[in-house]
C-alpha cells in the first residue's frame, strides 16, 4: 500500500489535476489586445467550436482518418499476427518480432520524412511506377499520404495485442471445433475470430488514440486541407497564445476517447491487454 502511494499521487496530481485545469481553462478567454488570459467565465470557446463549420470539418477529418488508419492496421496486422502466433517456428517468430519492433527504435520524425521522400513528385514511388507503367500518382502532400504514413507508423501497436490474443487461443478449442466437423474457415470464423477480437479492439485503442492526438504527420506530410485537431490546438497555443480555445478543442478528442473506451470495455478489450 505504501509503495503504491507515490505513483498514485503522481497520477492524481500530474494526470487528473492537469485534465481538470484543462477543462477549467476552456471556460476562460484571452484579451485580444495583449493575448493575456482573462479569468472571466464564459462558453464562447465552445460556441465558436459549434458554430464555425471549419472546426466540425477538422474534428470529423481527424476522427475519420483515425478510424481508417485503425481499420487498415487491423487488416494488415491480423494475418501477420496469426502467422507469428500459430504457424511460425520459434526462430522465425523471433525474426518477425525484431522486424516489427525495429522501426520503433528509429525516430518518428525520420520515418515521416522518409515517407515524404518516397511519395514526392520525383520520389521512389513515382520513379518505380514510371519505369513499370509509365504512370505516376500525386499523393504527396494529401490526406492519402497522411493516412498511409499513420498506418505504417502505428502498425506495431496493432500487431502486438492481436498476437497476444491469438496466442492465448487454446489449441484444444481448435481441435474440438474440427472434431465437431467444422472446416478451416468455419473454425476461424466461429472460434478464432471471436476469441481474438478483444485483441483487435485493444490494438485499435492504441492506433485510434495515437492518430487522434497526432499533429506532426499532418503538418509535415499533409496538403492544403489536412489539419487535425492537434494542429489547431498547437496553433492556438503557439501562434495566437489562445490557451482557453486550445483547451476547449482538446476536450473534443477526450470525449471521443471516453466513448470509444466505454465501447471497447463492452467488447472485452481490457481483458486482452
Amino acid at each position: 500500500m505504501l509503495l503504491l502511494a507515490p505513483p498514485l499521487l503522481a497520477f492524481g496530481l500530474v494526470y487528473l489535476a492537469s485534465l481538470v485545469a484543462l477543462f477549467v481553462s476552456s471556460f476562460w478567454s484571452v484579451n485580444p489586445f495583449t493575448t493575456e488570459i482573462e479569468h472571466i467565465w464564459n462558453v464562447d470557446n465552445y460556441k465558436t467550436l459549434w458554430e464555425a463549420s471549419a472546426y466540425r470539418t477538422i474534428a470529423l477529418r481527424t476522427i475519420g482518418i483515425a478510424a481508417a488508419v485503425t481499420f487498415a492496421d487491423a487488416l494488415l496486422a491480423f494475418p501477420l499476427a496469426y502467422f507469428m502466433a500459430r504457424m511460425a517456428s520459434a526462430r522465425t517468430r523471433t525474426v518477425l518480432f525484431i522486424g516489427v519492433l525495429l522501426p520503433l527504435w528509429s525516430s518518428y520524425l525520420v520515418r515521416v520524412y522518409i515517407w515524404r521522400l518516397i511519395l514526392n513528385h520525383d520520389g521512389v514511388l513515382n520513379w518505380t511506377l514510371g519505369k513499370l507503367f509509365g504512370a505516376n500518382i500525386g499523393i504527396a502532400y494529401t490526406n492519402w499520404a497522411v493516412w498511409l504514413i499513420f498506418t505504417y507508423v502505428w502498425l506495431p501497436f496493432m500487431i502486438l495485442p492481436v498476437y497476444g490474443a491469438l496466442e492465448r487461443v487454446p489449441q484444444s478449442y481448435i481441435e474440438a471445433s474440427r472434431d465437431l466437423g467444422a472446416r478451416g474457415w468455419m473454425t476461424f470464423r466461429r472460434v478464432v475470430l471471436p476469441l481474438a477480437l478483444p485483441g483487435v479492439i485493444a490494438g485499435s485503442i492504441f492506433t485510434f488514440s495515437l492518430t487522434l492526438g497526432d499533429y506532426v504527420t499532418p503538418l509535415l506530410a499533409g496538403g492544403s486541407s489536412s489539419q487535425f485537431i492537434g494542429n489547431v490546438v498547437y496553433d492556438s497555443v503557439g501562434i495566437s497564445n489562445n490557451v482557453p480555445f486550445a483547451a476547449a478543442f482538446a476536450a473534443v478528442p477526450l470525449c471521443v476517447m471516453a466513448v470509444y473506451l466505454l465501447i471497447a470495455r463492452r467488447l472485452g478489450a481490457f481483458e486482452a491487454m
Binding site: 492537469s18 489586445f33 488570459i37 471549419a54 514526392n120 492544403s224
Partner: protein, 379 residues
C-alpha cells in the same frame, strides 16, 4: 486531510501560477552603469554567434547566455515565463514586438545611450513596430523582405506580380507560409489590384477589407500544394518540383541556389511584406546595464555586417555596408544594404494586427481574429 481537500489544493495550485503580478519600469537611465557580469537573451538561432559574442564578453565582462526560440510566439511565451525576470532581452520580430509592449513585458529604452542609433536608416529609428508615441521600446537590428520565389525553368516569363500566386496557371504547384500573417500578403496584393477597398496598411484591416483578403485566400486554396511551416519544407518542395512558385524568404533562395536548383526570387511590383527585428529589454531585466551594452555592441557597423552575412539579412546601420563588401564582395548590393527610401517603402514590415487602427477607431481585426480566420481557411 481528506481526499477532497488534496484535489482542491492541487487544482488551486495549478490555477494560481498564471496570476503573477505585473510592474512597470521607472524613468529612463541617462548613462550606462557598470556591467552586472551576466546577460540572458532570447534570440533567433544565429543571432548570438560566437564571432561577435566572444569579443563582447571580453570587452564588457558580461557573460552571454542565450536561448534560441523557434517562432515569434515562443519568444513571447518565454519572455512571460517566471514572472518575466528570467531573461534580460529578446530579438523580437515586428509581429511579436507590439504584443510584448502591450503585454508590459518589455520596458522603454533610452536610444541616446546607443551611439550608432543616429546612424540607422531613418525608417528604422522609430518604426511603428517598436516605438509608440515617441517612446522607444527597443533598438532596431536587421531586416529583410518576404519575396516571390519561382522555378526559372518552369515559370516563364519571370513573374513581376503576386498575381501568379492567385492564378490557376500554376494550380497545385503553389506554396505559401502557414502563418496567419500571410493574410497581410493577400491584403497587400488587394491594395493594388482592388483600390476601391481602400487598403492603406495590410495589417490594419476593417471587416470589409479583411473579408476580401480571406475571400482571395479561399480562392487561392485549391491552387496550393502545401502551406509550408518550416523553411526546409519549402526547400524540399522546390527541390522535388512539387512546387514551382511561392512566397519565401531570401534564406530559401540562397540555400536552393547553393544546391544548384533553378530558382530566382523577386519583389513584385505590388511591393512585399517583410520582417524587421528589434532588441528589446525585459520589463524585469536583472542585468539592464549589460543589456544596454549589448544593444550598443550589436548596432556597431562591424557586428551588423557580420550578422547580416551570417544570417542573410540587411543591417539597420548603413555604415555596415562597406564592411559587408570588405567581408564578401558585392554582398551589400545583394542584400540591399543602405537601400533607397523607395525600396524600403515598398516593404510593409510585419506588425501585430490590433483592434486600434491608425485612423483612431477600434474597428480593425485583431490578431486573434486573424489566427481564427487562418485556421478556418485551412479547414
Amino acid at each position: 486531510m481528506s481526499r477532497k481537500w488534496v484535489v482542491a489544493a492541487a487544482v488551486a495550485a495549478a490555477l494560481c501560477v498564471p496570476a503573477a503580478g505585473i510592474s512597470h519600469g521607472n524613468g529612463l537611465p541617462t548613462k550606462i552603469g557598470k556591467g552586472e557580469g551576466q546577460l540572458n537573451l532570447i534570440a533567433w538561432d544565429g543571432y548570438t554567434y560566437k564571432q561577435w559574442v566572444n569579443p563582447f564578453e571580453k570587452a564588457t565582462g558580461c557573460q552571454v547566455h542565450s536561448k534560441f526560440a523557434g517562432s515569434s510566439d515562443e519568444m513571447v511565451t518565454l519572455m512571460r515565463q517566471g514572472g518575466g525576470s528570467q531573461y534580460d532581452g529578446v530579438s523580437a520580430s515586428g509581429d511579436a514586438s507590439l504584443r510584448l509592449i502591450y503585454g508590459k513585458d518589455v520596458q522603454p529604452v533610452n536610444v541616446n545611450l546607443i551611439p550608432d542609433w543616429k546612424n540607422f536608416v531613418p525608417q528604422l529609428k522609430s518604426p511603428a513596430h517598436n516605438t509608440i508615441k515617441g517612446v522607444h521600446y527597443g533598438v532596431s537590428l536587421q531586416w529583410g523582405p518576404n519575396t516571390l520565389l519561382y522555378n526559372t525553368k518552369l515559370v516563364k516569363p519571370a513573374p513581376t506580380s503576386w498575381s501568379v500566386l492567385y492564378s490557376p496557371k500554376f494550380k497545385g504547384k503553389v506554396t505559401v507560409p502557414d502563418n496567419p500573417i500571410q493574410i497581410a500578403d493577400a491584403a497587400l496584393y488587394l491594395s493594388k489590384s482592388k483600390p476601391s477597398l481602400g487598403i492603406k496598411d495590410p495589417y490594419e484591416l476593417n471587416s470589409t477589407q479583411f473579408n476580401a483578403a480571406i475571400a482571395l485566400l479561399k480562392q487561392q486554396k485549391p491552387l496550393i500544394k502545401k502551406y509550408w511551416a518550416l523553411a526546409s519544407d519549402e526547400i524540399d518542395l522546390f527541390k522535388s518540383g512539387d512546387a514551382v512558385v511561392g512566397a519565401s524568404w531570401p534564406y530559401q533562395k540562397n540555400t536552393l541556389i547553393a544546391d544548384k536548383a533553378p530558382v530566382a526570387d523577386t519583389i513584385p511590383r505590388e511591393g512585399a511584406t517583410g520582417w524587421a527585428d528589434t532588441w528589446m529589454m525585459s520589463a524585469h531585466a536583472k542585468h539592464p546595464n549589460c543589456m544596454y551594452k549589448w544593444m550598443a555592441w550589436v548596432s556597431t557597423p562591424k557586428v551588423q555586417a557580420e550578422q547580416a552575412l551570417y544570417f542573410g539579412e540587411t543591417p539597420a546601420n548603413p555604415k555596415a555596408c562597406p564592411v559587408m563588401n570588405k567581408l564578401s564582395k558585392g554582398s551589400a548590393a545583394q542584400y540591399h544594404c543602405g537601400a533607397s527610401a523607395s525600396y524600403f517603402n515598398s516593404i510593409k514590415f510585419w506588425k501585430t494586427p490590433v483592434a486600434a487602427c491608425g485612423n483612431g477607431q477600434n474597428d480593425c481585426m485583431d490578431y486573434t481574429k486573424w489566427q481564427q480566420a487562418w485556421t478556418q481557411l485551412k479547414g
